[in-house]
Amino acid sequence: MVGARAGSLSNFELRLSKLETMSLKKVNAVVVGSGAGGAIVAKELSQAGLTVVLLERGKKYQMKDADHDILRSQYYNSGPLGFGPEIKANPRTFRLTPDQPARLVYANEGEYGAPYGGTAAAVGGGTVPFGAMSWRFVEKDFKMKSLYGVPEGTTLEDWPITYQDLEPYYTKAEYEIGISGAADANPFDPPRSRPYPMPPLPYDRAGEALVRGAKKLGLHPFPLPLAILTKDYDGRSACVFCVFCERFLCEVDAKSTMHATMIPKALATGHCELRAQCMVREVTVDERGRARGVICFGLDNKLYEQPADLVVVSCSATESPRLLLNSKSKRFPAGLANRNDQVGRHIMHHVGGGGAIGFFEEEIFEAYGPGFTAGLSDFIHANGAVLGGGVVTTNAEYRQPFSFARSCGWRLGPHPWGKAAKEFVRKYFRHAVSLGSPGQGMPTETNRVDLDPTVRDAWGIPVVRTTHRVHAMDIRSSFFLTTKCIEILRAAGAIEELLPRLPTEQDLEWSLKNNTRGGLGEHQVGGCRMGTDPKSSVLNRYCQAHDVDNLFVVDGSCFPTIGGFNPCLTIQANAFRAADYIAKEWKGGAFRTPG
């Protein structure tokens, strides 16, 4: 079955074997995907003197395209997603466990990309609409197996690097990208060599509520580290405090996205070429099993081969494994770099997250600012309850009238509409504080992405089939963190009758017994994890494929653990580190392919 491609080619099934492939001029590096990983590698390599082609399946959006339209935004919609992928052209399938049949899913179902497993498809990737949270992992996130062992049913592993290995690159990322924050405000922060390049956003009223409640409970709230400029920086404008941040394109480029930061710098070198709306079909290999380049569709739907000395795959934790699995050859019949059946495995998400909304007598809503300014790390590891834990932050999920109206349902009984629903929205829209927490998801034996056996996208390429069900620890995390969010709201003075009741032991037991939670979303990581043992990993500590020396996978798919934090800054820091290695090796003569 083929999804329909928008435009003139609806229901056009491409007969791939009959299409000729035109070969393009060879470059030193081809980077597939222009998100948090790929944009940084393209910029670093082109600044190091390599010729680079950066391919992106999505469109390029610019400030002038910003429209404040919640119905054309990202992450939740029944309509078209503001920042891709095109809905009908890009179907996928999903199932909880391998014994179930997989069902068709589209990118605009559900919330925050789940269960489809979407981020975005745009120049700049998920950083274009994201909520800008920019966290460092803590030291323990890199050695969870050494600390905790391997819980039953998980495939928990250590990273092949330490926090100290990554620290200089966290700092580099914060300065090059433009991250605001307060270095001395979070007692649980890992060590850092430099403060943030600029101060954080001031607390808004919701943030002040979290601070008030947290302090009452003896917790340690602080202003959030964000990819949002609080002063003019690096030629870009500081935040102008519009109300449309997460899910939306920034109208002044104060959101430190890849398309506002790394990509212009890559292009400015004069030898990085960005090609948008270019769907890559496969990575090709030569007779020695080294990467030779990629085959992609041009805007004319013709096939092109882009040869390169080295190939960097940066398509996201779902799309990078897909690309490798679709890259079959005599040497790699099960997909490129997949000799040990590790590609697509150990995927993780924050499905174990918790959250709660509280309502206050006083007004909370302000008609300015992104809507998320405060958080706390007290429940990161050492929380006495669950493995890993998660930060707790305010969020802007219900700060748009439409989003809020859709969310009140559970308070209003089995028929959440009509007069009572309208009155609730009218009365409480301006009085809400929403807290959330991305609790760590465990990697498991069966959670993976692979290729659906029958479904293809509009280009005729086999699509992602996600098999994902949360581990019991994720459910415990969700309950634990939700409980904490409710307690903080209560301590902050939220109206008692409108608070959710605390989850009970019976609720937890029921959820553990009837586990139907699953699906990756926009925080997806894993799928091509780094490790020291090729039998249980795809990449070495430099994101280099164990089996293919000139193939790198640099995005969230290289993570062995997901952390209790939004993953973007760690993807970016790691991309700087991998790019550093690639550039050094290149200068020493590595990766060249003849011809």
Binding site: G79, E251, F365, Q400, F402, H415, W417, K419, V425
Partner: protein, 143 residues
Amino acid sequence: MKVLTARQVATLGAIAEQLVPADSDPGAREAGAVNYVDGVLSGYQAERVALYDAGLQGTDETSQLMFGRNFADLQFDQQTRVLKAMEDGSAQGETWKAVSSREFFALVWNHVLEGFYGPPQHGGNRGYASWKMVGFPEHSGTL
């Protein structure tokens, strides 16, 4: 309207009024939710026309079976009962053997909320009715 017939406009308008009724602030019908849905069905969700055709017909069928009249001609409380049955999946009628009343209800609910609470450029939220109601800055909707 581009897609919806006059009869469908009346039925859908009555459903919209049930989902977000008029009181001291406009309801979804007055605010143009039907106009919004017509735009969706003639635009990016044209494949949903079949579900709307069947669903609106089923709504009338259930109304006839329960109260002897079409949905738009029922009393307000009778309409509420019809919709609750559809939402529960317990609504009577041949239509619902081929089409899920739950799926239809969920889609209409979603669309009406979009049409009532979304920005006006899509055909609903006339005069920023819902944003005025909650105090969301109207000028922020377009740059």
